[in-house]
Subunit: 303 residues, 2 copies
């Protein structure tokens, strides 16, 4: 154990669609070398410590990766504030609704979506951790919210958490369903999918509509980029499309986390976790993300 | 002649790529019925008048359409301010650099492009009236400016009017030429073309780059929309793309026109007109726009 070091027992880590591009590499990030630990957010417990900021038994979070135990020099590992993580806010929320997915929803909606009461929000992967949070926050701001998900069960869940409309994209013509749910069009499209779904959403936008590019699950496993066709709509409808990387808002994280925690404690914001037991289940759980198998934030419990 | 009416002799009218979608109709505007006058901006002279705001011999402008003479009730017809249209500013500038193309460049660059000194601007159709104006304005603001055009003559012209780099897109690999001209990438892409050129420009953008969708000439005659493939770049590079319709800035037109006129008088902003004589030349001149035949603002002189 080095001075200042601590040994962490990982209790949970996340599997995220966004990790897909790190596996094969893309135009922006180099591919993860074979044999390296796959990156992901984690929650754990300090089991040995030479670091006063990380006392034994403290619950901690950070970019732990897919692993069960490790020794850290303390960098990038934070003890959870028990005042924030109590009551209805579980410690796993640190890598869910109070972590990257929840913060992506928060800043994507508020900063890039520019929502105002009366606006219509459309969100894809709506039963996922980003989409469900974005939709519920939009309801709190007085928007009409339409969610797209991949099963009747997920659609029922969206209605339960307050969405005005839920569309199962596997169930018939999506464009027609969008016209029925938003006859006057959509002001904000919060996109977690990309590809053809994005193209259809563009065709459903109102003038001056805002498109938030948060995730592009349809693209991550595509042989060739799929992209969009409806670019002239950007002129005719004065659309704006902007991409989001949540780490750009790092300085504003504490305020956003406090706001999200308050909504949860007050029962105004709910979240759902889809926990799979055992590190050996991680590859399967990861692949399932691209088949829309997950229902809520997908985590691995390291038992 | 009705009371308040005036008879206008058209001296010049414009042919514009944007009119293409009005001919066949699109998702936004209905097709122009057969037999109707094709819409366009015009300049003319009052030859008979019952309207004190439009005295005989006044030079006027408005959406006259492709025609030689007409009687107006005065709506949508404006007498040119002789103080603005004098010296180096010709009356035809009213439908060029001080009209829709110049104002599109002005508001597209300033409002959507968010330029700052040191930024790199890339502009397509750079020898056209929108592109040449956008590039010159950007130079006045301290940007590095790269223009894409379709011939060596046009590229030479771009260097003449102060562009730092001029790329002939017909001359080899555009992506390679972009990397050579902007090794660190592009901050603002002012897009008048769309399609594959837009995709290549997206791949050349710096993080936080802004894409201004001003025109989409490559799309207007395409059988099927071409669109773009590089959408995941919007996340990795935090790109923004926004479409422009200049009429949204109508209230700010007088100030912008005065600013543009001042630059022209001072010799800081030049413009080029490509005038074709005779109303019978208009169809050919219009079709040539899509073959990159025009060199500057294409106008028809009605002789």
């Amino acid at each position: 154990m080095p001075t200042g070091g601590a040994r962490i027992r990982v209790t949970h880590f996340s599997v995220d669609p966004g990790m897909r591009s790190r596996l094969s590499g893309d135009s922006y990030a180099a591919a993860l070398p074979l044999g390296e630990t796959i990156e992901s957010a984690g929650v754990g417990r300090v089991i040995e410590s030479e670091n006063p900021k990380l006392p034994v038994d403290a619950t901690v979070t950070g970019g732990f990766g897919w692993r069960e135990e490790f020794v850290t020099d303390g960098k990038g590992v934070m003890a959870l504030d028990p005042a924030l993580f109590s009551g209805k806010v579980t410690t796993t929320a640190a890598i869910g609704v109070l972590g990257v997915p929840g913060l992506t929803a928060y800043f994507g909606l508020l900063d890039l979506g520019k929502p105002k009461a009366g606006d219509v929000l459309l969100v894809s992967s709506a039963a996922g951790p980003v989409g469900a949070t974005a939709g519920q926050l939009a309801k709190l701001l007085g928007l009409t919210v339409i969610g797209i998900a991949g099963s009747p069960t997920k659609c029922a869940y969206l209605k339960e958490i307050g969405f005005d409309h839920a569309i199962n994209y596997r169930d018939g013509d999506l464009s027609k369903a969008l016209r029925a749910a938003a006859p006057e069009g959509v002001d904000i499209y919060f996109d977690n999918v990309g590809g053809e779904m994005l193209d259809r959403a563009i065709a459903a936008m109102k003038p001056h509509g805002r498109i938030v590019i948060s995730g592009q699950v349809a693209e991550y496993n595509a042989e060739k980029p799929i992209g969009i066709r409806n670019v002239t709509r950007f002129i005719t409808h004065r659309l704006t499309m902007a991409g989001l990387v949540v780490y750009d808002y790092r300085k504003q994280f504490p305020g956003a986390m406090a706001a999200l925690a308050e909504h949860i404690q007050a029962g105004r914001l709910s979240y759902r976790e889809d926990i799979s037991a055992g590190i050996e289940t991680a590859p399967e759980a990861f692949i399932g993300l691209f088949k829309s198998e997950n229902f809520g934030r997908r985590l691995i419990a390291v038992v």
